[in-house]
């Protein structure tokens, strides 16, 4: 095509990196500030959770233990509180998300090396692991709600649900992108000659969302108040 004559004059990219990939990297820089602000809000309120009003204690007392107020177990003024955070369960969901990143790497490998069946299998695996992670999150939110923690309960509830909720929304967007990619790869033309590039760029997003979860898991679940 005559395009080649043009290409000789104007390079596709001054840096040699595809513009779409540069866009994704800069977008992720912006996302760092987004999650940074949500995490900062969580940290501002983390050490400063007041005791519940007596009405709450009566309403949420089960077998002498109050639920749905503090993130972790503690005893204050002789009242025993059970922490809502279930570290073993969330460790499992974290493991699932980490494994989805492994699957994503394998999908990228398959796409870049023309092994389309491998790419599709691992795209599907990434997608399913992402959905399982979201399932864990739905379960967790439901459990916390049942114990009495909601957006209005206290600052822990508000900042926890908004932070992890927006992370879950990002995972959902990732799942939609993976699903779209998988559907597109099943067309007669597949993902076309740029399959490796497309899968890799979505992979950047997926790994980023995974890394954010590792930070959230550390800050919210592992670091004591």
């Amino acid at each position: 095509m005559a395009q080649a004559a043009h290409a000789a004059e104007a390079p596709h990219s001054s840096t040699g990196i595809d513009s779409r990939k540069v866009l994704m990297w800069i977008f992720l820089a912006s996302e760092c500030l987004f999650f940074g602000s949500l995490i900062a809000t969580y940290l501002v309120f983390k050490g400063d959770i007041p005791l519940p009003a007596p009405g709450f204690i009566e309403a949420h007392m089960h077998d002498g233990v109050v639920t749905g107020w503090f993130p972790t177990d503690r005893v204050v003024d002789g009242v025993e509180y059970a922490g809502v955070l279930n570290i073993p369960v969330t460790s499992a969901s974290t493991f699932v998300l980490l494994m989805s990143s492994v699957a994503m790497v394998l999908a990228v490998y398959g796409a870049q090396n023309g092994r389309l069946k491998m790419m599709k299998i691992w795209l599907l695996a990434t997608l399913l692991l992402g959905i399982i992670f979201l399932g864990f999150q739905v379960f967790e939110f439901h459990e916390f709600g049942a114990e009495g923690l909601n957006l209005a309960t206290n600052q822990f509830g508000a900042s926890f649900f908004v932070l992890t909720g927006f992370h879950g929304a990002h995972v959902t967007v990732g799942v939609l992108m993976l699903g779209s990619m998988l559907l597109a790869s099943m067309r007669r033309t597949g993902l076309g000659p740029e399959a490796g590039f497309h899968v890799e760029t979505i992979g950047l997003y997926w790994h980023f969302v995974d890394i954010v979860w590792i930070v959230i898991f550390t800050v919210v679940y592992l670091v004591p108040a």
């Binding site: 095509m1 005559a2 395009q3 004559a5 043009h6 290409a7 004059e9 104007a10 390079p11 596709h12 990219s13 001054s14 840096t15 990196i17 595809d18 513009s19 779409r20 540069v22 866009l23 800069i26 977008f27 820089a29 912006s30 996302e31 500030l33 987004f34 940074g36 602000s37 949500l38 809000t41 501002v44 309120f45 400063d48 959770i49 007041p50 909601n150 957006l151 209005a152 206290n154 600052q155 508000a158 900042s159 908004v162 927006f166 939609l176 779209s180 597109a184």
Partner: protein
């Protein structure tokens, strides 16, 4: 040229007029025009709001508007000027000039570029729709909690505020990503980073500021929306929340935003001064690095807006020091502009009047800024008219004067026509005198204790004279704007007569026709020096001949950006009414993205992302 026309003969690409062509355009020049016209319309709207404010304050116990309307007027004046006036006017210049200045045929993502405009328009209309649907936001553009919470703001006005600003932020984020990638990746051969025109550097710095500060505001707006609609207590003290957290979040965005408003004007002035001094910009490297320093420091000064919230001595000292430090790179720029003028062969065109006026009035605002970088002085000046004087010297005397310098300078390039120099100079003097008469007395009012945001005042407080003078100044500015609009419409009726490079300017946009063809350049230029047009002129290098075999591929028009914009609008309306509409909007957005992805662009890979 003939060859280019041959390729452009595809009917879909050529459709030059008609509403559908504008709705589906992905041409950076047309999108720039859309931004420019929208920005001017909202600039006038915000100006009318300002005139109402000044009319109310002209005499003691004024009765032009009541207290509630006054609150809405000053809030909407700020929001409209900042988000719907100055920012889109800056975006108009980014869109028009960045591809031309770096020797590209469009931005990296033409359809994303269209999308950012449609989302902008959606947010702008939504914010102003609040006037008709239960009241405009009336808590100031900074919207301090807990005044913005349900207890004190009972209507929907603050929901309009949060939703519109999230939508406008989305638009700015998309546009900023696009411009950073364009500047990094679409430079013509030989256009190294340190040959980029200073305006392009300032565009990239602005885009980085927005990319890194908008998400912080978005989080604050989401939290405020949740407080008002989903029972959280982020900023409500009674529920354990922290109103000062809102102030931190807002100003971590809000201070970089100040540089988002002023840096485009600094970039424009850095192009206008060398052309009309007939010598290269003095200290190019220093000007660029000063811009970068301002951007970095801009993220480290936000708490100077909060000296009176009781931060304690250490933060006050630190933020005072960082704030004063910003005066250094700003001063570097001012000295470099003066150095550019020094010894130059100066032509005093209207653009040059505005650029030199910019230096003078912006410096006044900069100096008063250093004054309240000092916490004890700030404690005196906080919430007085002294601050109003300062910020208007920086934003009107700075940003607006710079933008009009750009309007007069690039008008021949944008339209092929000249604005009348005589009327232009009348416009300049009305603006320059008007702004000083309006805003300088506010220093005196502030020092004598007149608070900001009061809707009226009693006689006998010593504020009558200067308030009346300020109001006279405001109407002088309005007269200047009327002269400009008359000048604009008069010029647009004339036949295009502008040559390619009427000012003998050094940058690449002047190397193509006025107005440029749809594909910008018949031949992608090769850049050999920092001021490429002057270099080629001085070294007798003739413009390259078009290659008769070259086919220029332009991205075809697309209605998907508009469709996705409609989806965003539905999400916004849903967030203000019924959540089912949010779901519908999300479906439209997802459908739009699918269609977008699968749409054949016919573009060369150089256009990059789609």
């Amino acid at each position: 040229m003939a060859t280019a026309a041959g390729t452009l003969a595809a009917p879909a690409v050529q459709a030059p007029s008609g509403i559908w062509a504008w709705l589906t355009t992905v041409d950076h020049k047309r999108i720039g025009t859309l931004y420019g016209v929208s920005g001017m319309v909202f600039f006038v709207v915000a100006g009318i709001e300002a005139l109402l404010i000044r009319s109310q304050l002209a005499v003691p116990n004024g009765e032009v508007v009541d207290a509630d309307l006054f609150n809405a007027l000053f809030s909407m004046h700020a929001l409209t000027m900042i988000f719907l006036g100055v920012m889109p006017l800056g975006a108009a210049f980014f869109n028009w000039l960045v591809p031309l200045m770096i020797g590209a045929r469009d931005v990296a993502f033409p359809r994303l570029n269209a999308l950012s405009y449609w989302i902008f328009l959606s947010g702008a209309l939504m914010l102003n729709a609040s006037w008709l649907l239960g009241g405009a936001p009336d808590t100031g553009w900074f919207a301090y909690a807990p005044l913005t919470e349900n207890t004190y703001s009972t209507g929907r006005s603050m929901d309009f505020y949060t939703v519109s600003l999230i939508i406008l932020g989305t638009s700015s984020l998309i546009a900023s990503l696009n411009f950073i990638v364009t500047i990094i990746n679409l430079r013509a051969p030989g256009m190294t980073m340190f040959r980029l025109p200073v305006f392009v550097w300032m565009t990239m710095i602005v885009a980085w500021l927005l990319v890194l500060s908008l998400p912080v505001l978005t989080v604050g707006l989401i939290q405020l929306y949740f407080d008002r609609n989903f029972t959280t207590n982020f900023f409500i003290p009674d529920g354990g929340g922290d109103p000062v957290l809102w102030q931190h979040i807002f100003w971590i965005f809000g201070h970089p935003e100040v540089y988002v408003l002023i840096l485009p004007a600094m970039g424009i002035v850095s192009e206008v001064l060398p052309t009309f001094s007939r010598k290269p910009l003095f200290g190019y490297g220093a000007v660029v690095f000063a811009g970068i320093s301002i951007a970095i420091l801009g993220f480290a000064v936000w708490s100077h807006h909060m000296f009176t919230t009781g931060l304690g001595p250490v933060p006050r000292v630190v933020f005072s020091a960082t704030t004063m430090t910003i005066a250094v790179p700003t001063g570097v720029k001012i000295f470099n502009w003066l150095g550019t003028l020094y010894g130059g062969s100066i032509r005093f065109t209207t653009a040059m009047y505005f650029a030199v006026g910019f230096i003078a009035t912006f410096t006044v605002g900069g100096i008063s800024g250093v004054m309240h970088a000092s916490p004890p002085i700030d404690t005196q000046q906080q919430d007085t008219y002294f601050i109003v004087a300062h910020l208007h010297y920086v934003l009107f005397g700075g940003a607006i004067m710079g933008i009009f310098a750009g309007v007069y300078y690039w008008f021949p390039k944008f339209t092929g026509r000249f604005l009348s120099e005589g009327m232009g100079k009348l416009h300049f003097w009305l603006f320059f005198i008007g702004l000083n008469v309006t805003f300088f007395p506010m220093h005196f009012l502030g020092v004598s204790g007149m608070p900001r945001r009061i809707y009226t005042y009693d006689a006998g407080l010593g504020w009558e004279t200067w308030n009346f003078v300020a109001t006279l100044g405001a109407f002088t500015i309005a007269a200047g704007m009327a002269v400009f609009l008359w000048n604009f419409f008069r010029s647009m009726r004339e036949e295009p007569s502008a040559p390619d490079n009427p000012w003998d300017a050094p940058t690449l946009e002047w190397a193509t026709s006025s107005p440029p063809p749809e594909h910008d350049f018949d031949v992608v230029p090769v850049v050999r020096a920092r001021d490429p047009v002057w270099y080629d002129r001085d070294h007798g290098i003739a413009p390259p001949e078009p290659d008769p075999h070259e086919h220029i591929h332009l991205p075809p028009p697309s209605y998907y950006p508009l469709l996705i914009g409609v989806g965003f609008t539905l999400i916004g309306i849903g967030a203000l009414s019924h959540l089912a509409l949010v779901a519908l909007g999300a479906v439209v957005v997802i459908y739009g993205i699918w269609g977008w992805t699968l749409e054949p662009t016919g573009a060369e890979p150089a256009a990059g992302g789609h």
